[in-house]
């Protein structure tokens, strides 16, 4: 019985530990989201400060230049056979036993392959495009675009009326040609 009691207590303590860690994780997430919403570059008071502070402007511009240079470096691609050439050059200076291994022959003709994430993205993007096309077709079928046209025409009529009241009929006619009326 005593053993059962101890076991129960242990399970209880592990449960409390788990709930505590969950609570801790939640609090951390809340804290991070609070900080990012109030102190990120996009927050209004930061934007407002940057707009009026030349020092911060120059700092941001300098950091932007670093990021631009980094993205330029990343955007430069090498030849596709570079991996193959580098492998061949490397294998040729390794020990005889390694040079002759079948794996070495494979490496000499290897070509770079995109990462799994990129491969998945490669499949996802065309399917998203197809889905977008289907959505447009569906919207056309539903007649949403027709009602959008009606909405636009009504909007233009309202504009014309407003301009007619403010500037006079002639000006309104000039701005919004007669096919609307």
């Amino acid at each position: 019985m005593a053993w059962l009691k101890i076991k129960k207590e242990n399970t209880c303590s592990s449960k409390t530990k788990e709930s505590r860690s969950n609570q801790c994780r939640k609090n951390r997430q809340r804290f991070v989201s609070f900080l990012s919403s109030h102190f990120s570059v996009d927050s209004p008071w930061v934007q407002n400060h940057i707009a009026h502070c030349p020092k911060c402007q120059s700092r941001l511009a300098a950091i932007g230049r670093v990021n631009l240079a980094l993205s330029l470096i990343k955007s430069q691609s090498h030849n596709l056979d570079l991996l193959m050439r580098a492998n061949t050059q490397t294998i040729n200076v390794l020990k005889h036993g390694l040079r002759e291994a079948p794996k070495a022959q494979e490496l000499k003709s290897i070509k770079p392959e995109p990462k799994l994430a990129k491969r998945v993205f490669w499949c996802v993007q065309p399917s998203l495009n197809v889905a977008a096309c289907f959505l447009i077709l569906f919207l056309l079928k539903c007649g949403i675009f027709t009602s959008m046209d009606k909405l636009q025409t009504n909007g233009k009529k309202a504009y014309k009326q407003y301009y007619a009241s403010q500037l006079g009929e002639d000006m309104a006619e000039e701005l919004f040609p007669s096919d609307l009326s």
Partner: protein, 185 residues
């Protein structure tokens, strides 16, 4: 008797080659596993294909001869740190050579024009020069994070620092690079 000697000899050769490839097969596995990422990182650091091949070769040669052909505990960490160090040394040598040539050719040093600020090649070279000047702890993080595109988890295991420390080093490195790059304009 002679026949037997020949047979023993060939068997010995065969066994020798088998043990060599058996013992160091992990070198080929390392090339296969990390080769592509390493090429990308070296290309971004050096920007020259021949230099990339040389640095790549040196990295794996050092790996194959690590402490009497012993396998390191963390191959990825060893490979990336070694490649990073080799590439930075090569880059520094290249920069020194370029500066020496620029000094010897009069009028080439003061070619600072507003067009240069927008010149992508100038920006890239400028950044490479500044990265080569960074202190080692910051440079390793910026190279592994931004040029090799490794995650902070991977970086922390390679450099044996915490993820938070890696983030702080990267932030400081970016600030330093920004200051240096704006000064050099």
């Amino acid at each position: 008797m002679f026949d037997k000697a020949v047979t023993y000899g060939s068997i010995w050769e065969f066994l020798d080659s088998q043990t060599v490839s058996g013992e160091q097969k992990w070198v080929l596995s390392a090339i296969q596993k990390h080769g592509q990422e390493l090429i990308t990182m070296l290309w971004r650091i050096l920007g020259n294909e021949q230099d990339v091949c040389d640095a790549y070769q040196d990295t794996f040669l050092q790996l194959a001869h690590f402490e009497g052909c012993r396998k390191p505990n963390n191959i990825k960490a060893y490979v990336f740190s070694t490649a990073n160090n080799i590439a930075i040394s090569m880059l520094r040598r290249k920069i020194a050579e370029r500066n020496r040539i620029a000094r010897s050719v009069p009028g080439k040093d003061d070619e600072h024009s507003p067009y240069k600020e927008l010149d992508s090649k100038f920006l890239q070279e400028n950044l490479r020069e500044c990265i080569a000047r960074l202190p080692e702890h910051m440079r390793s993080v910026i190279v592994l994070r931004d040029l090799a595109e490794l995650s902070y988890t991977q970086i922390s295991s390679i450099l044996k620092i915490s993820k938070g420390t890696a983030r702080v080093y990267r932030c400081k490195a970016i600030q330093l690079l920004a200051v240096w790059m704006s000064k050099e304009e």
